[in-house]
């Protein structure tokens, strides 16, 4: 069986490192980062932190090197989904492709290019330490299930879940994985941009009442959209916000980390996703739309404020 990881940042590398431990799997890591891929080719892929692995997936920056695969796992930032799958689609002519990305809308894009799609949500997180070396910061489960309009078979989904679990990434195959996806989406869409716009770590943001109120307003809109879509959430996102305050008080949301180095953010797939699905179901989402606009404004300021100014 052959698997190709498309996009080997922190999350993609976690998947590649775990899966490459299995002898009966042929694992490919595809990414455009020359240094990271060269390091994996030369010395293998190292995982530290919560996971301690040294494995040897095939690695390439050239999609032509990759043979036809049974499964794909897309782990790029949601900004790059289209560019990545457009390039890699040929690998999965007869395969099933699973997204483990943040936000909503990635599966829809992937389905334009490949025959069978799996909806996935993953909780483990990490960061790249150096080329070829990734630290796993948190554990957690992965949920996968059919992407209805163009789905892989349940049998196929169960095979992928079994392989991931066998490799050490506990994965649940579900008839409907939207509950997990939307729980994480609502949590991320409420906490990430608030962190990015205020500069506050998660726990501190929760302790400023006027900021905590913004988070709750965003959560409430997301919950209403999920309900209108007939999605049963895994858990209450409000409780997740409070739980994260307990276990990750000083954590800077990934969108805040992006903002600090002026990297384009995933706001379109998070708050933008909630706005889009809200519109389709007739649920108003003015606060998510406001936050989306503010984040786009912030991103615009990075270009605007950098332009050389001619003094009047």
């Amino acid at each position: 069986m052959k698997v190709c990881i498309v996009g080997c940042g922190a999350i993609g590398s976690l998947f590649a490192a775990y899966l490459a431990k299995l002898d009966d799997l042929d694992v490919w890591a595809f990414d455009l980062d020359e240094k990271h891929i060269a390091a994996i080719k030369a010395k293998g892929l190292r995982l530290s932190g919560k996971g301690d692995i040294h494995s040897h997936p095939h690695a390439t920056t050239n999609v032509a090197d990759v043979p036809a695969c049974d499964f794909g796992i897309v782990a790029t930032k949601s900004l790059h989904t289209r560019a990545a799958i457009e390039r890699a689609a040929g690998i999965f002519r007869n395969g099933a492709v699973c997204s483990v990305q943040n936000g909503v809308g990635n599966e829809e894009i992937i389905a334009e290019y490949v025959p069978r799609v799996i909806r996935g949500t993953t909780f483990p997180a990490g960061h790249i330490v150096e080329p070829g070396h990734v630290a796993q910061d948190t554990g957690g489960k992965t949920w996968i299930g059919p992407f209805e309009p163009k789905s892989a078979s349940m049998a196929e989904i169960e095979v992928l879940a079994a392989k991931l679990t066998e490799a050490g990434l506990e994965t649940l195959a579900m008839e409907d994985s939207r509950g997990a996806q939307w729980t994480k989406l609502i949590f991320n869409a409420a906490t990430n941009p608030v962190g990015a716009l205020t500069g506050l770590p998660h726990g501190v943001a929760c302790d400023v009442p006027s900021v905590r109120k913004v988070i709750s307003t965003l959560v409430a809109e997301g919950v209403a959209v999920a309900a209108a879509l007939g999605i049963k959430l895994d858990s209450d996102p409000e409780k997740l916000v409070d739980y994260a305050r307990e276990v990750a008080y000083e954590h800077k949301a990934s969108m805040l980390q992006d903002a600090l180095v002026q990297r384009p953010t995933e706001v379109a797939a998070l708050n933008g996703g909630i706005v889009t699905f809200g519109r389709e179901t007739g649920v108003p989402t003015p606060m998510n739309q406001a936050i989306w606009a503010l984040m786009e404004g912030l991103e615009q300021s990075w270009t605007h404020n950098k332009k050389p100014r001619i003094k009047k």
Binding site: T198, G199, S210, V275
Partner: protein, 324 residues
């Protein structure tokens, strides 16, 4: 009361210096300052106004209100956040004076009224200046100051007219209204929206503030938030003097070239960049409070208010963690 023969300006920032520098050419003008060296400088050199006016006037300055003697008019020109402290210093002084406030936002008149029973004139000013030193201010935008009797006190339209006439005679532009709230609320809504959005996005007043093509365009947020503010004004029976959205559209198309390079940096954005406390409580926060009082939803104002509060917190927080 009779003609205004003497004025005391409290707070000599850009706006305070513009008032003092102009009024000093027509009436006896005093300035209440906080720093000793500021007092010395003004007493020695007076105030110079350049730019749209060219003036050089003597100033009587002091850090002690008792040393300034009586005056007929007090103009409080501090930042909104400093009005409480300024009014406390004025308590017990200038018993026969009118007091005029010129702050951004709402609620400063109430603060002043707690410290004395002076008749209060509300005003808002659209003029702007650059303060080059303690004794030199440049008059930049020669737009009007609007004033009127504060509805919560004993001032009347005649008093406002007298103050307006004096200001106009000194070379600034002024217009007295029977009820200044329609103008005040137009500017309040405009400022509450564009200042808070600018502070959060780190954007000056660029064209994006009026752009409404895509869902996530900033102009949609500006528009929706202004509609929210207009509902709060309407609920108190205030008919706006100008439409805040039109003010916004006009502001972004200003400038010789219409180029975003010359976009205005909001005062709240300057505060955020310098990590200073902002005027959010008197602008966006004032609309949130009014909305709550009236039972009208204002979730967009609450959201921007909350985020700016979070930003302010992020500096304090970092300082606390450094143990300073």
């Amino acid at each position: 009361m009779n003609a205004i023969r003497s004025v005391c300006v409290v707070g000599a920032g850009a706006i305070g210096s513009l008032f003092a520098g102009h009024l000093g050419s027509v009436v006896e003008t005093k300035v209440l300052v906080r720093r000793d060296d500021h007092e010395e400088q003004l007493n020695r050199a007076g105030l110079t106004v350049s730019g749209k006016s060219s003036l050089q006037v003597p100033i009587r300055a002091s850090t002690d209100p008792a040393a300034l003697g009586d005056v007929d008019l007090v103009i409080i020109a501090t930042k909104a956040s400093a009005v409480e402290a300024a009014a406390r210093r004025l308590a017990g002084h200038f018993p026969d004076a009118l007091v005029m406030t010129v702050q951004n936002g709402l609620g400063c008149e109430n603060v002043v009224a707690k410290h004395g029973d002076w008749p209060i004139i509300s005003s808002i000013t659209f003029m702007s200046g650059v303060r080059h030193s303690d004794t030199h201010v440049e008059y930049e935008l020669d737009t009007e100051t609007w004033l009127g009797p504060w509805s919560g006190g004993t001032a009347d339209f005649r008093m406002a007219t007298r103050v307006g006439d004096l200001i106009a005679r000194s070379g600034l532009k002024a217009k007295a209204f029977d009820d200044v709230r329609p103008a005040q609320w137009s500017k309040l809504i405009f400022n509450s929206v564009v200042n808070s959005i600018g502070a959060v996005t780190n954007l000056p007043h660029v064209k994006a503030f009026a752009s409404r093509h895509r869902t996530a365009d900033l102009g949609n947020l500006v528009f929706a938030m202004m509609e929210e503010g207009k509902r709060v004004a309407k609920a108190q029976g205030i008919e706006l003097y100008e439409d805040p959205w039109e003010m916004n559209v006009q502001a972004v198309s200003h400038g010789q070239t219409g180029d975003d390079d010359y976009a205005h940096v909001f005062s709240m954005l300057s505060d955020v960049r310098a990590k200073r406390l902002t005027e959010i409580d008197w602008l966006t926060g004032a609309i949130v409070r009014e909305a709550q009082r009236l039972g009208i939803p204002a979730p967009l104002h609450e959201t921007l208010f909350g985020i700016v509060k979070g930003l302010e917190h992020s500096w304090q927080d970092r300082q606390e963690r450094r143990g300073t």
